[in-house]
Amino acid sequence: MISRLTAITLNTFREAVRDRVLYNLIVFVLILLASAPLFSQISIDIERLMLVNLGLSAISIFGVIIAIFIGIGLVAKEIEKKTLYTILARPVRRWEFVVGKYLGLVLTLVTNAAFMTIGFFGALLLYTRPLTRSDASLLVAIYFILLEFLIITALTLLFSSFSSPIFSALFAFALFVIGTFSEDLKNFASMSHGISRWGASAASWVIPNFASLNVISQVAHKQPVGGSLVLFNTAYALLYTATVTLGAVLIFERRNLK
């Protein structure tokens, strides 16, 4: 089982690399190298802040875009090219295929984010040296971004398991947007009554909470991130991801591929 999962994971990763996904790293490095000197000239006193905000936002945005646009094709492309039948004709279970695809995309995103992190700290060292102990909290923000990728990849895979690529992209992006408003939904629930209260409250639990995973502004101002938030965000992301992936597996298991 492990070897089959590893094979699918690595193949998905190789496919993404062949699709030149990692080319976005060049754009990322250019953005970082250009932003700090530019903003030091046209703004006041925000070189480091800009570098941190731009670097971390870019890691997040690039990752979310890759997760959605690669994720929507994970299953659909295999069906369209009819390669899925070759895979499933082998002793590979459907759930192994889904989970392997998921892990492959996560591996791509982690690799991409790792290179971006190296570039980001390089730029930080270049423009705002020396690095201080408080800069370690930037790694926490990047870790949260990775947790965000886990969730968004699982959601894209879920939609990809039953819908067309275009609708999968729309659904995933819509959920990402709504997920950033999840705390507003909770506030809305507390202010409303009756059915709307229940509806809004239920939606705030079902919709992924991306708001708590975004600490970019906080770390940009060198404010520490509490250990308990790290712990609960990790638990939340893993549990939510497992739930959604399981949902994707259940749907794909029952899908008629004829």
């Binding site: 046209i42 703004s43 006041i44 905000n53 997040s60 945005i61 975004n214 101002h221």
Partner: protein, 301 residues
Amino acid sequence: MTVSRKHSVIASLLLIGLFAGSVLALRQIQLLRGNQATLEDVLYLPSGKTIKRMSLGYSGLLADIYWTRAVQYFGAAHMRRAEHYDLLYPLLDITTDLDPQLIVAYEYGSVFLSQNPPEGAGEPDKAVALVQKGIRENPTYWRLYFTLGFIQFQDRHDYRAAQEAFEKGSQIHGAMPWMKVMAARMAEKADDIETAMALWNGVYENTVDKDVKKTALGHLQSLQADAGIMELERRVQFYRERTGSLPTDWPELIPAGLLRGIPLDPTGDPYKLLPNGKVEVTDANKYPYLGEWLQKHPKPF
């Protein structure tokens, strides 16, 4: 030339032509909309809080962009010595709604707002509102109290409010001891030129931005020159009372015990003694704010 090559050349020329056409069209659009078109969009935005909601969590980055827009807007208006800075406060308000911890926007933004036109927007009340918002969001950052006290003193001439700001700031952990001194000065001798000098010195010492430092130094040296002129004219009057005539040159005051040598201004040039007993600096261009304080505080003699 082969047919396909000919097609490539024609396509390339067409591409260049079309691109040039799009640049010309864009130029016309920019002329129609004016330079401020993008910035004026802020007037139609309901609030910074709405923009924050729409930023999908990337509000920090958006705040940096809005702060840069505010700086650019101020810089452009300042360069053409504008009398109105209508978009400055909305831009700063949006910036600080997007990132309430962006201290630099409160500190420098309030200075942009409070200074009289054409140096600034001449809106000290809005500057106070901005700094008070900063204090609400960052209650442990004592330097904002200094900024508040400074605006109350310098632009609103509300010495009691200035005293209160310095007092409150001095109680915050980590505040510089001179905040207490400032509070005391506001209570006792807010009208003294030394008080104004101490405040500008505080600005000079507190800022890292070279433009703000330059402005603070300009104010500081102008005040030092004003103080020097005031003191020298006092001594000249004293000499006149003693001898019955005005001195024609500085050395005359040395044997009288009124001077130890030729008096020098803050940049090292000698002060000029005029035949009517008035004193001037050698190069007034070196002191952009010379006489401002004296205008507001007439001499006692």
